[in-house]
Symmetry: C2
């Protein structure tokens, strides 16, 4: 759809566009020059997506590799298969092309060429290095804005370092520019003087804790480091522009900006600015709010309008999470929004300094045309373009006498790669204007046409109609306040005695109290426990109720599960709040447990709907063979406390939907969440006796499992208990009528391997998240990091900083990243391991928490021997053992050398190593280049082997089959020489 624009304006756009095109005079952007691309390479990267991916991935990884020979083998890994193909001769970097003819590659040459590529876009490796170039730009009539490239900030130390680099940059630059020639066009605009120095700020680099879940904590953490920078800028003088980043942080960055620059010392600063992204659906209202704010402030700001650089990753991330996409999905929608915002900003130029970041000829002409319409002088706005990009347009606007500022990154090659790749992607994308003009040579008429939005494409349907329940988006203020409110409500119900949910049975055990692990003196609630004598009565009850349940239609049982899912969805904050209080789960962990429980209900419902239909086998005439699935019978579910809702929901709902009756023993450490699950299922329509809740300790589980009528035992817990149950179940009890089945999910001793090609930003973050998430109390948690010797020290240093920066505390606080462990017994056991580890290995960091509650600070041991006890035994706490490996094979050997085989991870950018891991990393769930916890139902069915478990993966296709008997019914349909027609 093309919006009808005013014909006059369009005519002006065309006219000015044609003039600008003339002014750009046949030049070609550096990027498309033959200097380091061959024409064939451009064609390949433009048209062969596989090649482009490989090429950019290779470039991205390259600076990490210090060993020249390794560069050569990696080039073979990346391009070996392709080099053999017909297109091998002409492609890619000139040096890389040599692989195509089989010549020996020089690692040094490859690196040198990539550095040369980077230099196109990066103004210098340091401020000092960049200064001559910046001066040259100035002399050509181009202003600039410095962007200090850096790694992702994952520790306070790194945040401090970024702050210090900003301060140094402001200091140095303000010195240097004083000697430069005046450039009147660049030093004044419609509102007054413009500083020669401009610094673009990456706000997320100023804190390891920038997280929309905790706006206050985020602000404090950022503001603490931001204030000295603002003060320095005011002194310099210099402009400061907040860059925009990922979609989740937009509102947070705007809030930090407006809050900080209303603080009295900074309110008068006239050179603060903010980037705004046209691809965001909410940018128009955001701008309205900012304009209202700036009028209140009474001191202007700069608004830098850009299209937005995170579209791909934001889109992928939101889609993965099932969140509604806050960005426009079509490039043309963004372009249209950009144009609308151009007018808004220009109209508001009495209170703001508009800056337009664009490399699009039409957009440039459009801005000119609107400004003309509004009768604005050309000093009212400035153009911003990226250093090294769209040089012909730079030239054109300069020749037209416009103020131009180049966005100029400064930094080392290594952290600069992410930036380089982003630029390469931008220039080669199908929708790049530069590509359209300079590679595809589209006609000027086409290029200057208004953005045309194509019809929307429908979303792809998921198989089986199942969709993962999206995690809460805590960047949404309503979501945050709902959670706060739920915690308040739960707090009001603390300490109550909960009713029994064991059918009509009166349980004979003692009261079972549930304490808040963050405040051990606080009773969350209590339930009546079952005595061993109650087990027999419960089984009788469930056996009677089973008769009706087993013959209920599959459709009806599926409906009940879906109803239960809907109920959980409607009360998700409340359920999560109980987890915060009863189990000490931080908000996100608690929320994720609830969504996983919903997923189990919906997935098993969908699966049962699929497989419960009798399956016809064979199509021979005269015979009708069908496979039917029947429930096995009585099922004991013995559940753990660490995923107090999701894990029992999975086991209980699988048993129920397939038609079994269930005696459910929640963990004695999370009896209340267990009750909430049972309540929900009963409310959804499960008849009372079909699901009986027997709170209690291990003796109840044991008694249940040994009862002759208990035919299926679904257990999740420790290896020791699981193996005991397996052994006990294999002994036939008097009166038993069936071989028992035990589905046991046991422990893990999970490792992440980090090789020398790994992206350490990702790897450190992934190891921290995997090992400290819910205080390491996940069977999937990482408790071993196996690091290639080439990056061992670097990894360890960054890991140490990141761990030290974690916020450990009460999980009721949204900013808390790690809460307590579950109870005193767990705390003592973990502390014993820490003591042991201190003897076995080198203690790198031992977190200490002084507040009351069962806290364990995150703890890291380095140089651990693969045979050490802390390398072999499951600790179930935030204790990480780090190993040094001398090769990837060595790392795999270490990783596989335990009794467990549950989860594992690899951070690597070596295709060969990733492939080796796929083949040989012997775990049930292997994760490549991502954290190793958080398996999603259906997408990552979960479960291990060796001593990590027996049975099919939860949340996967085979899981329900464990709860059923399969019967094959074969009817001979031929009678008296005739059979029904098929």
């Amino acid at each position: 759809m093309t919006v009808a624009a005013s014909p006059e304006l369009e005519s002006s756009v065309r006219q000015i566009g044609e003039e600008l095109a003339r002014l750009s005079g046949g030049q070609s952007p550096t990027l498309f020059e033959r200097r380091w691309w061959s024409q064939a390479a451009i064609n390949l990267a433009m048209h062969n997506l596989d090649f482009k991916t490989q090429l950019f991935r290779f470039i991205d990884m390259l600076p990490t590799i210090t060993d020249d020979q390794r560069v050569v083998t990696l080039a073979q890994e990346y391009f070996g298969a392709m080099a053999g193909q017909a297109f091998g001769l002409g492609w890619g970097l000139k040096a890389l092309a040599a692989t195509g003819v089989g010549a020996r590659l020089s690692g040094h040459a490859i690196r040198a060429q990539v550095e040369q590529m980077a230099r196109t876009f990066i103004a210098g490796s340091s401020i000092a290095d960049a200064t001559p170039g910046l001066q040259h730009l100035w002399s050509e009539g181009k202003a600039w804005s410095i962007d200090l490239l850096g790694e992702a900030t994952i520790s306070d130390h790194e945040a401090d370092r970024y702050r210090d680099r900003c301060l140094e940059a402001l200091e140095m630059l303000s010195q240097v520019v004083q000697t430069w020639e005046p450039a009147p066009l660049l030093e004044h605009d419609h509102l007054g003087p413009v500083p020669r120095v401009q610094l673009s700020l990456k706000i997320s680099a100023l804190s390891p804790h920038l997280d929309p879940i905790d706006p206050e904590g985020s602000f404090q953490s950022v503001a603490r480091r931001l204030r000295p920078i603002v003060e320095a800028a005011m002194r310099a003088p210099a402009s400061l522009i907040f860059d925009m980043e990922q979609a989740e942080t937009k509102d947070l960055l705007v809030a930090i900006f407006t809050r900080l620059f209303m603080e009295p010392p900074y309110r008068t600063f006239p050179h603060a600015g903010l980037a705004i992204q046209a691809y965001h659906r909410a940018t128009a209202p955001d701008v309205e709010a900012l304009l209202a704010w700036v009028r209140r402030r009474e001191v202007p700001i700069t608004l830098r309008l850009v299209k937005g650089a995170y579209w791909d990753s934001d889109t992928i991330r939101y889609r993965q999470r099932g969140w509604p996409l806050p960005l426009f999905e079509q490039k043309a929608e963004t372009d249209r929004n950009y144009e609308a915002l151009v007018r808004t900003l220009l109209e508001a130029s009495t209170v703001i300094r508009p800056a337009f970041g664009t490399h699009n000829l039409r957009t440039l002409a459009y801005i000119e045309s609107v400004a003309q319409q509004l009768g604005l002088t050309s000093s009212t706005w400035e153009y911003q373009m990226i250093f090294g990009m769209a040089e012909p347009f730079q030239e054109a606007v300069l020749r037209r006498g416009r103020r131009l500022r180049l966005y100029a990154p400064v930094g080392e090659l290594l952290p600069g790669m992410a930036y380089l790749v982003r630029r390469l992607l931008e220039n080669t994308s199908n929708e790049s204007f530069l590509r359209k003009e300079f590679v595809e040579s589209q006609s000027l008429t086409t290029l200057l046409s208004p953005p045309a939005v194509p019809t929307q494409v429908d979303a792809v349907l998921t198989p089986q109609g199942f969709r993962n329940e999206p995690l809460a988006d805590f960047s949404n203020p309503e979501t945050r306040s709902a959670m706060e409110k739920a915690i308040r409500n739960v707090r009001e119900r603390l300490g109550q005695r909960w009713p029994s949910l064991a059918g009509d049975l009166t349980l004979s055990g003692p009261p079972l109290f549930s304490y808040n692990p963050s405040r051990p003196d606080e009773i969350v609630g209590s339930v009546q426990a079952a005595g061993e004598a109650d087990v027999r009565a419960a089984i009788r009850l469930a056996g009677e109720a089973w008769r009706g349940w087993r013959v209920l239609s599959a459709v009806r049982r599926v409906e009940i599960l879906r109803k239960a899912a809907a109920l959980m969805r409607s009360r998700r904050e409340t359920l999560a709040a109980w987890e915060v209080l009863e189990c000490g789960k931080p908000w996100r962990e608690a929320d994720a447990d609830v969504t996983e429980a919903i997923d189990f209900l919906e997935f098993y419902a969908a699966e049962w709907a699929r497989i419960s239909t009798p399956q016809r086998l064979g199509h021979e005439p005269g015979e009708l063979n069908h496979r039917l699935l029947d429930p096995r019978g009585m099922t004991a579910v013995i559940a753990p406390w660490n995923f107090p809702l999701a894990i029992p929901t999975g086991m209980v709902s699988a048993a129920l939907v397939t038609g079994n009756s269930v005696i459910f023993k929640p963990s004695e450490r999370s009896p209340l969440i267990g009750q909430l699950l049972v309540e929900t299922l009963l409310e959804a329509g499960v008849p009372k006796g079909v699901l009986v809740c027997l709170p209690g300790g291990p003796e109840i589980g044991r008694t249940l499992a040994q009862h002759p009528d208990m035919v299926t035992i679904a257990f999740t817990g420790s290896k020791r208990v699981g193996l005991d149950l397996l052994r006990q179940a294999a002994t036939v009890a008097p009166g038993q009528r069936m071989v028992k089945r035990v589905i046991a999910e046991m422990g893990g001793k999970n490792a992440i391997i980090i090789d020398e090609t790994a992206d350490l930003d990702e790897a450190v973050g992934g190891v921290v998240a995997s090992s400290t998430g819910y205080s390491g109390q996940k069977c999937s948690a990482c408790s071993r990091a196996i690091v290639h010797e080439a990056v061992y020290d670097l990894f360890l240093a960054r890991l140490r900083e990141a761990i030290a920066s974690l916020r450990v505390g009460n999980p009721e606080d949204p900013g808390t990243q790690m809460g307590p462990v579950i109870d005193e017994r767990a705390q003592a056991a973990i502390l014993d391991y820490i003591k042991l580890g201190s003897q076995e290995a080198r203690l790198v960091i031992e977190g200490r928490v002084t507040q009351p509650g069962w806290y364990i600070g995150p703890t890291v041991f380095a140089d651990v021997a693969p045979t050490a006890r802390i390398a072999q035994e499951e600790i179930f706490g935030p204790v990480l053992a780090v190993f040094k490996a001398d090769s990837f094979e060595d790392a795999l050997r270490i990783a596989n050398a335990t009794d467990y085989a549950l989860t594992g991870g690899v951070y690597s950018r070596s295709p060969a190593n990733l492939e080796l891991a796929r083949e040989r990393f012997d775990v049930g769930n292997l994760y490549l280049n991502r954290p190793i916890t958080g398996a999603l139902v259906y997408r990552q069915p979960f479960g291990g082997h060796r001593f990590s478990g027996v049975g099919a993966k939860t949340g996967g296709e085979e899981y329900l089959m464990q709860f059923v008997i399969s019967r094959v019914i074969s009817e001979q349909t031929l009678r008296r020489g005739f059979a029904p027609a098929e």
Copy 2:
């Protein structure tokens, strides 16, 4: 395709056809009269196949039901759902139509109407009853041929009874006809006098042992009863015509006919005749051979050309078995063949009496035309039509002065139902000429056109490209002689010492001798057994070999299995012959074991090809989730002797194809077949150490299962051993690295329920086959028959006769139906149970076998209490316990009241009871209206629950999953904000 016929002939056909149509003068066949069909009923039966099926099934069952009230409930079961629908008002039998308006049905009325239907086609309930009608026909100028209706012959007693009925009929009729008026047209033909009496013989009714596998035995058994009949016919005089039956017996019946009527006393008998079926592809050569034979005999015979009445059932049966169909698939091909044979017979009329059975106007005209062409007098041939059918054509040929004979069945309603239903089917089929003329009123031009054969339709492809290997068709003489030759060859190799197949290991156990159960003094061969000490070495060997095997591509392992299948196919008779000698299996049982082994190889190959491809989970952008299947590791296969090739092939090949290494212990009772399996797999390409054969006793199995490296134990055998293995495997051994998995298939105590609606012909046959097949030594064997009290005595009486008629003996003889049991130990154990049964219940029959060898005669106990030991314990021999049940529910209760749940069967024609069985008969494999053994791979995946087994069904989709670990690999593919395109 229409064959170009001579225009003159076609012109004559049209002309005569039109004349015959005129002569048939507007009459309508009785069948289509309104007497008992409403017009709506005809329409429904013609156009609604479901209704037709239900109606004919109901009619078929009706005479069995003696209780009027039961008739009413069954009518509701059959038509209840339909009666509620719109078409309820007009359909069906008039009385049945009442269900449509909700009126109370009278069982008596329904029965009376069906009897009336039957009377249309059945000349009388006995010869005496039929005589007046026959005389009336004669007086109208119609000859007849009597067909004595009867139940299927399943015992010698029943065969004797049929013989006696034939003799009586000949006696009575030859008396009666003497007083009838002469009818010159009917009493003379071109070759001389024609007797007034003609009897059509159902040869299969003359022996319970008519079986093409044993032509000699079949001949003797039939001839013994046939000779007195021929002698009586010679005395009478009377013509005797052999009716043709199912396709498998065609050659056998022809052989019996030609052999018997060359015997000196019968060679001169000029009134013998044989029906020949035009639908048989081989009939033309058969006729050539018969003409050559009759010229040698020098005395004419009658050849009755019919289209053939077994097309549907033959086609279904051959398709079920995967045999090439020996019949024409298109009706028009049969018609064309019929016309060709008309000419052949008429041309040979100097040596034969041609008789043409047809109700097709064109065919009648065609015969007339060809005869005219050949210049034959009309006495040369006769027409045969069916009593009660095509009356207008009867009239027409009579008016034309032709000799007509009516095929007139005589017999009780109950056994006559099969006949009635066949007639109803014939008249209502889409291809029925009568339907075309009298219901669809097709034009005479169409009806008289030559048969047009439509283009062939391709066979339907089976899913997964898998097809069951067809059983041997022993009606084929080459198949029989191949088996005879194989047995001779095997006999020449008896007594040899077989080489070890345990890699390079030298086994330390004693020699293990294999004896022929039929001749215990005969050593079939011997192998070296393994000692317990060999187990460790074998596991080490297999462990080393595993390294290469596990990483071999799935494609390659699939190829190896397919190669092994091809090898077995190429040597199937040899393998079967070894089973005859080593295990005492009769031919068909031995052959079926080999084909099942081939099926396992092909099916698991196809399955692995299907599931080994990594399965993608989810399609979210930026993540790539794959499920991969890896082998678990070392697998012990502990196999039984009763399916000495198929069962170990299934277990071994499943473990191998999925990438495991295997230590295989064949049963000490069938070590040679075990060796043959290993030989075949090694020859097909399994590397030596990957599959190690360790012959030996239970101690070897135990040692294998307890070894810490043995991670999977696939066992088939007794419940006791299976439960022991399960218990032992659940104890973790020192050094063990994985929870062991035991796949155990254990015993059964399988029941067949026979209700009051059952077709006893089928039920008795099914129980006999299921309980005595391989001497009851199948886990699927029937050891209990639970019979409704209404048919208890009748069932028991027929069962007793059938069992008494079984041929027990040396399985090398193809006529043997039951051989010995496996060894002396088995014989002693079964005899103990027979002794016990004699105390617990009423001994109905105890088979006695006097020849040497481990024989047990088939034994039946009646009035068994459900709690008796012979009702509860697996006997594994040909011992059947019969129970009386007072209702179907009661029968189900008895059936379900054991520790086992393996197979079960129901013989019933009550839709409600069949449905109840589907819901409540708690067994792994339930069979309706068919024997309960012989599950086919893929079509009937096999296995039970309770104490009958744990694990997925063999030959089914889930089986291979037990031998693998499932690994889910999740790669985050988003790097630096970009991910590969999907």
